[in-house]
């Protein structure tokens, strides 16, 4: 029971006793410090990727703009996409898993702490390598998807794409090592009593996600090596002019790329599945269905890659097959949305900042999911793919979905990580500015695409309505900038003078809230007994414990 005692002490984040200062972090193999470093590096690259987004929006604010040259624009949008996917979303989610999972399963650390440190440092090295390309003759300029033969040496003369290949190979190695670590940790280090069916959903989704990573990332890394051989040793795997195949690259890339979309959303689903029950004061509705639908999504995600290739011209049977599987994946996704919504009913909803982001997630992600279904309908894809409608769609998934969930997770776990609360008042401002800025920036991209504006264009003709919609979108991007600055200010202020968090400020029920905030290096003095999915709830309400409620109906 001592694990529940509220402690007034606010210590260093995991005081790695012997070492002080920077070395305590650089030399650390502690999962909490490594998790925080992952998140800080993601925050740094978020600032850079966000700055690139602003450059893009400034260039597109008016037609026939000369703010950026075409090649610079191409470098910027390539770096924006690559950065946000590989250096922001993936490490941010990985950091959250690495920080929270061992605590949520009552473990002292991950299974392989040194491998954990390697994953982070090779990830950071990959990021630096990617950005080094700017001073080494030009950043990559063939898009985050680097379609052949545009990415082949005949059409991409700078070293940018080569740096892109090398950087992504590093990131892939880091991600795969991290995923193996997570799987072994979750399978072997759970505290006694925490069966697989009692796993917190965030841990469950991290587990499923880790399997996705170890199956999808090697596909990319294999293809990257082939592209590297094409570029450096004059092979022609992907150049049709010499008997290679441009389409082969697309199959490899999306064979990785579509599972990747789910790699970027499953842990976000996990965060939402923790935050919504806690702030509704209820267990998740339909635990088994939420867990099983995650597995269904993971399996299906390997069968839908070619919906990125509907416009390639591969025949109607091919299109219909992938259209069918792509529609099917909407079903388990819908099951999740209904279960989160049902969790709210008959609850007692505390509208904390974290909860507001989670509720915003449900609504905004639904929009992204629905436009996603419209792309599964192949003829609609034939009209709207590669237009701004698609840009709107995936930003509703990755910003309206993943980013809002990440903010929900940060407001939720920040007190645990630092011992201090984030300011709720600034938090509410942050939430509303984000929601307004996001919709201003991206909603009108739907009509822009329907009006015929292709994506990845450095400028556009002055056709009726195009300028005003683009201008509003640019204004929205600056509102988002304001929201991000507010968020950073909140972090900085709260770190310095935020209210003390205590062990369990949210009255939550998973194991990480049973230890001090921040937790000691060994995580727990004593792990409370686990007899159900909500050990701290059971402790607090022995008469209404979950397992008993189940048995008694």
């Amino acid at each position: 029971m001592s694990g529940l005692a509220v402690s007034g002490r606010i210590g260093e984040p995991s005081a790695a006793a012997a070492r002080r200062g920077l070395l305590a972090w650089v030399a650390s193999v502690d999962h909490k410090q490594i998790g925080i470093m992952y998140m800080l590096s993601a925050l740094l690259f978020f600032a850079i990727g966000g700055f690139e987004a602003l450059l893009i929006r400034i260039q597109l604010a008016v037609p026939n703009n000369h703010f950026l040259s075409p090649d610079t624009f191409n470098q910027i949008f390539t770096m924006h996409g690559t950065t946000m996917i590989f250096l922001v979303v993936m490490p941010m989610l990985a950091g959250m898993s690495i920080y929270a999972v061992p605590l949520m399963i009552g473990a002292r650390d991950v299974a392989f702490p040194r491998l954990n440190a390697m994953s982070f440092w090779i990830q950071l090295f990959g990021g630096i390598l990617l950005y080094f390309s700017f001073v080494a003759g030009g950043a990559p300029n063939a898009g985050w998807f680097s379609y052949a033969p545009l990415s082949e040496p005949a059409f991409s003369i700078s070293n940018g794409v080569t740096y892109w290949v090398l950087a992504l190979t590093c990131l892939g190695i880091g991600s795969i090592a991290g995923a193996i670590n997570m799987i072994v940790t979750i399978v072997t280090l759970r505290v006694r009593g925490q069966t697989i069916r009692r796993l917190p959903l965030f841990v469950w989704m991290t587990l499923v996600n880790s399997f996705l990573i170890i199956m999808a990332l090697p596909v990319l890394n294999g293809a990257l090596v082939m592209l590297l051989i094409d570029r450096l040793l004059n092979a022609h795997v992907f150049s049709p002019a010499f008997g290679g195949s441009a389409l082969l690259w697309q199959h490899y890339f999306w064979g990785f790329g579509h599972p990747e979309v789910y790699i970027m959303i499953l842990p976000a689903f996990g965060i939402i599945s923790e935050v919504i029950p806690v702030f509704s004061g209820k267990p998740i509705y339909g635990y088994g269905f939420v867990a099983a639908s995650t597995v269904a999504i993971a399996f299906l995600s390997f069968t839908v890659w070619a919906h990125h290739m509907f416009a390639v011209g591969l025949g109607h049977m091919f299109v219909m097959f992938f259209s069918f599987t792509s529609m099917a994946i909407a079903i388990p996704t819908g099951v999740k949305i209904f279960n989160w919504s049902a969790t709210l009913y008959h609850g007692r909803i505390r509208l904390t900042t974290s909860m507001m982001f989670a509720l915003g997630f449900i609504v905004m992600f639904t929009m992204g999911g629905l436009t996603g279904v419209s792309f599964a309908v192949a003829p609609i894809d034939w009209q709207l793919t590669d237009t701004y409608y698609l840009v709107a769609h995936f930003h509703y998934v990755l910003f309206g979905g993943t980013a809002l969930a990440i903010f929900a997770g940060i407001y939720y776990w920040f007190p645990k990580m630092t011992g201090r609360m984030l300011n709720e008042r600034i938090g509410r401002w942050h939430f509303w500015l984000t929601l307004i800025g996001f919709n201003l920036t991206f909603f009108l991209m739907h009509p822009l695409g329907m009006m015929g504006m292709p994506r990845r264009v450095f400028t556009y003709p002055d056709l009726p309505g195009w300028m005003i919609l683009n201008m509003i979108s640019t204004v929205g991007a600056f509102v988002l900038l304001a929201s991000v600055l507010l968020f950073l200010w909140n972090i900085q202020m709260s770190l310095a003078s935020g209210a003390a968090a205590g062990d369990n400020p949210w009255d939550a029920w998973t194991l990480e809230w049973a230890t001090t905030s921040p937790p000691p290096p060994e995580n727990f003095a004593l792990v409370p007994p686990v007899h159900g999915r909500r050990p701290l709830w059971d402790l607090k309400h022995p008469d209404r414990a979950d397992e008993r409620a189940w048995v008694e109906g």
Binding site: F155, A246, K282, A330, I362, T366, A378, L463
Partner: protein, 310 residues
């Protein structure tokens, strides 16, 4: 011709897609409104406040789960059936027909070869009204994508992989098109127009395009013709009736008859043509057309010559 081309179709093929799209948009809106309403009602009704009831500890309901799994499944099956119909209506099979037109995507312009008549042009495709034309789509370098939203689907031009598509317009007019697949620096200015004409006008246009223009022998135009031959223009561009047969850049035989310049980067006026020849980058930055550092006089002569190529 209209503000929202994907919703204002001018061919049966495009119409079948836009009808389906409108239907799906309605379904999407209904589902979105439903989810937004569910969340809003929950927040209003179950918000934590003085006197609010304790949260009820409930774990789920299998019947509800089955309902919200089966409901969307049925809806998607219906959508799938309509989709299959639309696939066939919007992209009919080729059935052994010979293409009438070959369109080749280049970095960053479109070549159009009329296979039966022998007309070769660029960035401006003429079609007769009301009759579906089968296009054979190819690429000379990287992947491009042919897209004229008012007339139907888009499809990639992939090197080493031949594609076909039907194009048809029900009404005469000028339809805007663009390259929709990222293809390098000037992807933005790889646009085109499709001019749909009544059959008689289309035939007349083809006749005019096949005529061999007279090469000017006197005056500024003759000087321009000499510059065309001597200042390396001829190494990349073809003009019927001259020694120029290379097709690295667009065929210029009837350049003056076209509406747009540099794949849509400018209107085809003598003033723009002058700017383009003098400094191609000022109209289309980072284009493959080199700046030959022509003097003003040389450029004027060249414009005079090219303007004779009606």
């Amino acid at each position: 011709m209209s503000g929202v081309p994907t919703l204002n179709p001018f061919s049966p093929e495009a119409a079948s897609i836009s009808h389906l799209f409108v239907a799906i948009l309605c379904v999407m809106f209904a589902i979105f409104a439903l989810v937004a309403a569910i969340v809003t009602v929950a927040i209003v009704r179950y918000r934590d406040r003085e006197g609010a009831a304790d949260a009820r500890q409930e774990f789920g309901n299998s019947r509800l789960e089955i309902a919200w799994t089966a409901g969307p499944t049925l809806l998607l099956i219906v959508i799938f059936i309509f989709m299959v119909r639309t696939i066939h209506a919007s992209d009919p099979p080729v059935r052994g027909r010979t293409p009438e037109l070959r369109v080749i995507g280049h970095q960053w312009w479109w070549e159009a070869d009329y296979l039966s008549s022998g007309v070769v042009t660029a960035n401006e495709i003429h079609i007769p009204v009301g009759r579906p034309i089968l296009i054979d789509l190819e690429s000379a370098d990287v992947i491009h994508d042919f897209w004229v939203p008012e007339l139907g689907r888009k499809i990639d031009a992939v090197p080493g992989h031949k594609n076909h598509l039907w194009i048809r317009a029900d009404k005469p007019g000028v339809y805007l098109g663009a390259c929709a697949e990222f293809c390098g620096n000037e992807h933005a200015w790889m646009r085109m127009i499709v001019v749909a004409q009544p059959q008689a006008d289309f035939a007349a246009w083809q006749r005019d395009q096949l005529a061999v223009p007279a090469v000017a022998v006197t005056g500024e135009a003759a000087q321009g013709a000499r510059i065309f031959r001597e200042q390396t223009c001829i190494n990349c561009h073809a003009i019927a009736g001259t020694a120029g047969i290379q097709r690295i850049g667009p065929d210029l035989t009837h350049l003056a008859s076209r509406r747009i310049l540099a794949a849509g980067a400018a209107d085809n006026t003598p003033a723009n043509l002058f700017k383009w020849l003098k400094d191609p980058n000022s109209i289309k930055p980072e284009t493959h057309m080199p700046n030959f550092q022509l003097s003003d006089a040389q450029t004027h002569a060249l414009v005079a010559y090219l303007e004779t190529l009606k």
